[in-house]
Amino acid sequence: MEKPEKEYADIPGTTIFDADQSRKGYGVNMFCMSLLKADNRAAFKANEAEYLKAFNLTPDQTEAVLKRQWNRMLELGGNIYFTSKLGATDGLSFQQVAAMMTGATQQEYADMMLAGGRSVEGNRRKSEWEHKNG
């Protein structure tokens, strides 16, 4: 039997961290979790690729982490509250990581927030984004 479409699947620009994502991203999230300890942050910074070997990531996940592809980490099962710890290790705030995920500069993103944030109008459904891009 085919799985039914998830009711939140048509929210644009959004990966909901559910059981499927969690299963896929276990290694990514546990790697990020390890960065809560200062010693681990230092070990990771000293040799990132070597440090990652302990977490059984897929080649795609390893590449996403090493290249700091923040959206791809989420698509591959990472969760923002975990991946933001990698941001913290890099000295980035939540807002800096968020800006990177939207493709805006930090200043553009901060300005958008000050102006009231991203409107929900035109951002509820994937069809609205396709329309915008097509």
Binding site: T14, I80, G117
Partner: protein, 281 residues
């Protein structure tokens, strides 16, 4: 007999804690946020709760993806502020109320709410930022704190209805505790925000204000909001608002609105704040 005297509802944005800890509260950007809590601090100093039950969510701090409890009640003597990657916040250790917490756990479990008992837990900004907003920067927190962690990280969180009913069960538990204690209950998180993916930065003030209205005057309306509606309308992480419903459930259906504050933004998030009191019989 212990009783619940009030509900405090507030966002728990981590950048608020960072602004406070780094002495930025006087900057106009942050003054706009902190200014909204001046009256609240005066209010809580007068109300003087003996215990605050703080409903919050852990942000991958105490709980990784190894164990994800839907509801976890902190029954320990104390809870240490966690290092979330930027170093621990310079705030006092959070002192628990193990006797009341154990009583609540026992009472709600027998009331068919199967929550998880936690005897050791570090607490992150989800818990400490609301304390800072309400109590400022004291050397010790002025009351005992019982943390109630709700999973909103791994979908699905508990439903709004389940949260609301748990609040009612918590109230029954508190009111069956023999010692005279004044208890406040905090619902934290939200309001609209999305910090993940290309749609990050989403804010929906209209949704937030309707939610505040519903909480104050028609809680059943807020209870009926579905998960997908929170996520679509108020951002993927806006679903944190279900936690407010635990605190709301612990109050009377009809309440007095003592105070309300709303501003956009604090970092990525809409800041909402509400204080509700039960009407005096």
């Amino acid at each position: 007999m212990a009783k619940i005297v009030a509900g405090v509802f507030t966002s728990h944005v981590p950048a608020i804690g960072a602004a406070l800890d780094n002495g930025k509260t006087a900057e106009p950007y942050w003054q706009r946020v902190f200014g909204g809590y001046e009256k609240s601090k005066e209010w809580i100093e007068k109300v003087k709760p003996d215990v605050c039950i703080v409903v919050f969510n852990d942000h991958a701090t105490a709980f990784s993806v190894d164990i994800v409890p839907t509801f976890a009640l902190g029954c320990a003597e104390e809870f240490i502020p966690a290092d979330e990657g930027w170093g621990p916040r310079p705030v006092p250790v959070v002192k628990g109320h193990p006797e009341l917490a154990a009583h609540i756990a026992q009472s709600v479990i027998l009331d068919e709410f199967d929550l998880t008992v936690v005897n050791k837990m570090e607490v992150d900004h989800g818990l400490t930022v609301p304390l800072s907003l309400m109590f400022g920067q004291p050397a010790e927190w002025p009351c005992k704190i019982i943390p109630l962690a709700v999973n909103v990280v791994l979908f699905p969180p508990p439903t709004g209805n389940r949260c609301y009913n748990l609040g009612k069960a918590i109230r029954r538990a508190v009111e069956s505790y023999p010692e005279d204690l004044r208890v406040a209950i905090f619902g934290t998180g939200g309001m609209s925000h999305q910090i993940s993916g290309p749609r990050a930065g989403l804010i929906n003030s209209e949704f937030d204000k309707a939610f505040l209205d519903a909480l104050a005057t028609d809680p059943k309306k807020a209870v009926g909001i579905k998960h997908v509606e929170y996520m679509r309308e108020a951002g993927a992480e806006g679903i944190e608002m279900v936690m407010w419903l635990v605190a709301r459930g612990a109050l009377d259906e009809e309440v007095n609105e003592v105070y309300r504050f709303y501003t956009v933004p604090a970092s990525n998030t809409a800041v909402g704040h509400l204080i509700l009191e039960n009407k005096v019989a």
